[in-house]
Amino acid sequence: MLSLMPERTSADLDLLFGALADATRRSIVERLAEGEATVTELAAPFSISLPAISRHLKVLEHASLITRSQEGRWRHARLSPTSLGSAAAWLARYERLWTESFDRLDDHLARLTSEQPQPRPKADSQDQARER
């Protein structure tokens, strides 16, 4: 379970989550999920300046969330899916840690409650059979 994302260090993840901890940058990432775009196109939905958008793009680029390429006069930004996958994997890893543990806890609690003197009509005989 802890063996997911071998390619990412926690410093990388700090950068990644830091970059995503901003509503404007998350919007940019969502826009880029639809396809690559220029700075001007990315700035269109926002009431902030082009230089401000450029600064956001630098943060995203530094976190390896996007890559940028020069084509003639235009710089295109596109989403780098592996980094976003790492952030999602971090969350998925913990979700799985908890849910797998919860499944075991379920069984453990069932054993404990079946050991108590109160009669529990359902599934007791099965639980005891599995236990011994």
Partner: protein, 159 residues
Amino acid sequence: MTTKTTPQLALTRIFDAPRTLVYRAFTEPDHLAAWWGPIGNSLPRDEMDLDVRPGGHMRWTELFAADPRVRVHIRIDLTEVVDGELLDGVMHVSGQLPEGLEPFETRVRIEFGDEADGRTRLEVRQWLADHLAPSSEAGWLEAFSKLDGALATFTGVLR
């Protein structure tokens, strides 16, 4: 510690057992060792040290069946404890970690609530370090669920 920031992870689960028992399953060594982690992992009893109170701690080592070199040290420094109801603190993960993983810390909050018919509602929330999730920012999980479709497409492309 503030609880206003949005956790990056929030899970709820209903257990068919009384609240006091579920709480004990988290806070007593023999119980915790019986269920923590995926099947195959084990928690050596002599490396468990649970001092459950505000300012106390919970420490244990996790061994991996899949890789005998791995020894994960978990330490939760407890900031808030309400007997039978709440555990809140910072979890530190260190030790001989699986390859490629570095030590890190994360805040966890575990709440135990009563449900109908003697069942228990467990709520687990997990945060990255505070400086990574400023309180003014919300919508983590929303953002990720929005991106799910895009991620599915991209992982498809990568394979």
